[in-house]
Amino acid sequence: MSTQPQPEPTTPPPESGLPKVRFWMVCALILALALPLQLSVDAGLFPDVLNPYYLHLLTIIGMNIILVASLNLLNGYLGEFALGHAGFMAVGAYTAALLATKVLPGAAALPPVIGTIGILVVSLGGAMLASAGVGYLIGLVTFKTVGDYLAIITLGFNMIIVNAIQNIEFVGGPRGFTGIPKNTNFVAVAVCALLTIAVLRNLIQSSFGRVWVSIRENAIAAELMGVSIARAKNWAFTIAAAFAGLAGGLWAQNQQFITPRSFDYIKTTEILVMLYLGGMASLSGSILGVVAYTLLMELLRNLLSAFAPQLAEWRMLISPLILIIIMLTRQTGLLGNREWRWLRPRPGA
């Protein structure tokens, strides 16, 4: 059946003659750089050039990419406005800290590298499971709430988590959880960040991703195409929470010290700023937003402490200011709804 003459199908937008950059190439490149970098810094080589501070920055960037990309699943692709991401992160951080200090230290008897990797993998797995469970519950509770209501509920949940942890003496209460072994380094964080981007990209470019975006675009139409909104939303919350938990688990074993207040709504706001700076519904945007924001804040810190140390604390005013400027001038952020070529689906595949 054809209602009009068939023109030739258009080909996908023409690509330039440059060799095609693929996702695995980017992964290989980053890991090929990360491993020698980490080893050189650990060995104290070239201390003038390879300042451990740079590696620390890269590690922070990696963890923030996991947080922002997973929040993008909810706020960008599913089109909800979730405000509790730091809460999921807290669940992961405390789960991993407990596993690493109270349950798994026996594994330290294993050969050094294997033991550390073993503890890291198990503690991160536990962190992801725990936050996924909480994310699933939040998804259940928020069932058909959307918009403002969902924002308030997730914000409330964030506060509940932080306050609950503050009242549990077993994990240090308001003083925080100390003595967590440093089981992560930049390489581990880079691997986790790349895995996160890979998994999120795979899901977004599947039937699950199309269903999530269709809910954002028109929930009623999606439902009348046979989509169970509650189920699809619940999956998204569970997956996003699992990755926030992963970031939390890495965070705990990188900082070695966590307090409930590191996961309050201020952290959620910071994640939101990076997300909106980068752009909604774009994994490339999430990566770029994190890198741009982190570098900008560090640059400001250095500039202020060099030239105007009395203004150093004013740095924190910049972040909300950035958010306001984005919302006023460029609501799609740096890369909203667009992807770098290596993150795009392969044409015809």
């Binding site: 996908p12 899901l203 599947s206 699950f208 975006v213 009623i220 195409m225 046979g226 015809g348």
Partner: protein
């Protein structure tokens, strides 16, 4: 029997939007519901598709009672619809609008998608091929990479019908498909619906405000006014019914 509705009733507060609505739609029938604005036509569709739960009455799809089920379950049971104000996934591509509609037929799970297993790649290739074939049947293949929201109005309407059909429904509900169209687009739409009726094995129920469209497409119509069926039967007879003329025009002149 494709769709059988008995004594369907729905009130909103004190207002009875639909009262004692009956319908028998055979497997391959093409029937119309007409009536003035606010007569309760779209409410009937919203009741059939589970957007509202009926106060009273039964809706049977084949052997299955669907009244009271949630919308998504009714859709999966085989009732698809379009909307009076087009509801496409505007920021998705034309192709993704169709591929999304095949979500229930994607033969892979979350883990397959996460790891891009062989099953995932095979099934995804199949979905893509079926979607492109489907678009080609509706003359929209050339538009596959464009955003659905950027299509001209007539093609958006066509895409919406194509998307509804991609779910493989037994019954297709069309809610004022000719609304906002110019005469040439209406002409194309009538041909499209006739082709769909001929080529797909399904029943079509059409709500329409423009009488010529219903006259040309449907042999059988029923007329709603203030939530009540005031006439039903062969379309050329119904439009001569004085009750219908009065409801429709409020005057003694037969509608065009």
């Amino acid at each position: 029997m494709g769709l059988r509705i008995t004594e369907l009733t729905k009130s909103f507060g004190g207002l009875t939007a639909v009262s004692g609505f009956n319908l028998e739609l055979g497997d391959r029938d093409l029937q119309g519901i007409i009536g003035p604005n606010g007569a309760g036509k779209t409410t009937v569709f919203n009741l059939i598709t589970g957007v509202y739960a009926p106060d009273r009455g039964q809706i049977q799809l084949g052997d299955q009672a669907v009244s009271g089920l949630p919308s998504d379950a009714i859709a999966r049971a085989g009732i698809a619809r379009t909307f009076q104000n087009i509801r496409l996934f505007a920021q998705m591509t034309v192709l993704d609008n169709i591929t999304m509609a095949l979500h229930a037929h994607a033969g892979y799970g979350l883990l397959d998608a996460t790891f891009r297993t062989a099953t995932f790649r095979r099934e995804e290739a199949r979905l893509l091929m079926e979607s492109r074939d489907h678009l080609a049947r509706f003359g929209l293949l050339a538009r596959q990479h464009e955003q659905a929201g950027s299509l001209p109005y007539g093609e958006q309407r066509r895409l919406e019908i194509a998307r509804a059909l991609a779910t493989g429904p037994k019954v297709l509900l069309l809610d004022e498909p000719a609304a906002g169209m110019n005469p040439r687009e209406v002409e194309e739409l009538i041909r499209l619906i006739q082709q769909v009726h001929r080529d797909f094995s399904l029943a079509i129920l059409l709500i329409e405000h423009q009488l010529p469209v219903v006259m040309e497409l449907c042999r059988e119509v029923q007329v709603l006014d203030f939530g009540q069926t005031i006439a039903r039967g062969a379309s050329h007879e119904v439009v001569r019914n004085p009750l219908v003329i009065e409801a429709y025009l409020g005057e003694e002149e037969p509608p065009a």
